[in-house]
C-alpha cells in the first residue's frame, strides 16, 4: 500500500465508524467485480472471444446482487445509525455510486453480447478492412477502462484531485467515440455488407462512451462527499477554481 493511500485510510478510520468502513469496502469490492467484467467484455470484443463474452454475460448477476445488498446495507445504516453531515453524505454517495456501478456492469454485459454477436457474423473480407477501426475500438476501450479504474481509486481514497482529473478525461472519450462513429459510417457507406458488423461495433462503442460518463458520475459523488458540494451539471473547471479558493477542510463542511 503506498503512503498516501495509507494516510487516507487512516483518515477514513478516524472519520468513520466500522459500519461505514465496511460499506465503503463493499463498494470497492463491487467496483472490482465491475472492473473485471468490463476488462473481459473489452477483450472479448477485441479478440472475438465468444466464450469470454459468455462468461461476462453469465456473471452479470453477481454485480446485480451486490447492488441490492449494498443498498440494503445503506438503508440499514440510515435507519439504525442516523448519520449526519459527512457520514450522511458518505451514505448518499454510496447509494448513487452503486447505481452507476451496476449500470456500468449492464454496459459491460451489452458489450459482451455485441462481442458474441459480432463473432457470429461471417466476416470474410471485412475483418481485413478494419484495422484502423479496430485500433480506435481498442483506444476507446482502454480509455473507458482506465477512467473506471481511476474513478474507483478516487472513491477508495476519497481523492478530490484525482476525481477532477478523471472527470476532465471524459472529453477525450467523447472525441475518440465521435471519431470512431465517423469511421464506421464511412465504412458502412462504402461497403453496405459491413453494416451489421459495423453496427455491433457502434453499439459497443456507445456502451464504452456511456461508461466514461458513469465514471464521471462516480467522481462527482466523491467531490460531493468530500467537499459537500453537488457538482453535477456544472462546469468542472469553475468548480475546481471555486473549491481551491475556498479551501474548506475535507469531509466536514456544510451539512
Amino acid at each position: 500500500m503506498d503512503e498516501s493511500l495509507e494516510r487516507s485510510h487512516r483518515h477514513i478510520s478516524r472519520q468513520f465508524n466500522t459500519d461505514l468502513q465496511t460499506l465503503h469496502q463493499h463498494v470497492l469490492e463491487m467496483g472490482g467485480i465491475v472492473q473485471q467484467q468490463l476488462e473481459n467484455a473489452g477483450s472479448a470484443l477485441i479478440n472475438n472471444d465468444e466464450s469470454l463474452a459468455e462468461t461476462v454475460i453469465a456473471n452479470d448477476y453477481r454485480v446485480n446482487a451486490m447492488e441490492v445488498s449494498i443498498d440494503e446495507e445503506s438503508t440499514y445504516i440510515l435507519a439504525r445509525r442516523q448519520p449526519a453531515a459527512g457520514d450522511l453524505r458518505m451514505v448518499m454517495a454510496v447509494i448513487k455510486t452503486i447505481t452507476d456501478l451496476e449500470r456500468i456492469g449492464d454496459e459491460a454485459e451489452r458489450i459482451a453480447r455485441m462481442a458474441a454477436h459480432k463473432s457470429g457474423h461471417a466476416l470474410g473480407h471485412h475483418q481485413q478492412l478494419l484495422p484502423h477501426v479496430h485500433l480506435s475500438v481498442e483506444h476507446l476501450n482502454d480509455l473507458a477502462q482506465s477512467m473506471l479504474k481511476q474513478a474507483l481509486d478516487a472513491f477508495a481514497r476519497m481523492d478530490v484531485e484525482l476525481a477532477f482529473q478523471v472527470a476532465k478525461r471524459d472529453v477525450k472519450v467523447d472525441q475518440e467515440y465521435d471519431g470512431l462513429i465517423r469511421q464506421l459510417i464511412t465504412y458502412m457507406m462504402e461497403d453496405p455488407r459491413s453494416i451489421p458488423m459495423a453496427l455491433d461495433i457502434m453499439w459497443a462503442a456507445r456502451s464504452l462512451e456511456r461508461i466514461g460518463d458513469r465514471a464521471c458520475n462516480i467522481c462527482e459523488y466523491v467531490i460531493y462527499f468530500v467537499k459537500g458540494k453537488d457538482v453535477r451539471h456544472i462546469d468542472l473547471e469553475l468548480v475546481q477554481v471555486d473549491l481551491h479558493s475556498e479551501e474548506q477542510p475535507a469531509g466536514r463542511t456544510a451539512e
Copy 2:
C-alpha cells in the same frame, strides 16, 4: 381528481407528514417536466420540428436543477427527521426515482438532438421511402411516453398493481425496438445514402427503448416502497404471485 386517486391521496396523508408529502409532490412536478420534455422531443423527431427540438435542449437544465434540489431535500429529511421503516423506504425510492427521471430527461434531450440533426439532412427521396419506419418510430414513441406516464401515475398513487402492469409492458417496447432496428438495417443496406439519417433514427429509437427501461425502474421503486421488497433483477411474474400470496399490509412491512 378521480375517486381512487383521492382515496390514495388520503391514504398518503395519513401515512406521511408534511415534509414527505412535499417531497413526493416535488418528484411528481419533476416527472411532469420530464414528461413534457419527452413529448416535445418525440414530436420534434416525428414532425422534423427543429425549433421544438431546440426548446427541449434549452430546457434540460430545469430537469437537472430539480434533481439536485430534490436530492438536497431528501438529504435534509434524512438528517433532520431520521425516518424509519416505510418513511425511510419512501425517501430511498425518491432518491432513486429522480436519478431515473433525470436520465429520462437526458434521453429526451438526446432524441431532440437527433431530431435537430436529422432535419438538417438533405432528405430528398429518402423521406418518401420511410413511411413504415416512421410508423414504427411513432409506435415506439407512443409506447415510451405512455409507460412513463403510467409509471408516474403508479408513483403518484403508490399503486403496486399499476407498477406491475407497466413493468410488464417493457417486453412490448423491446419487441417494437427490435423490429424497428431490423427495418432500419434492411433500409441502410438497400440504400447506403440513407445511412446517416437511419442512424439518427436508430439512436433516437435506442433512447426510447432506454426510457422504457427507466420507467420500469421507477415501477420497481414503487413496489419496493409499498411492499418493502427489492424486486430489481427478479422475474416480476414470480414476485407478483409471491406478494399476492403473502398479502402484507401496504407500506408498513419489514424495516
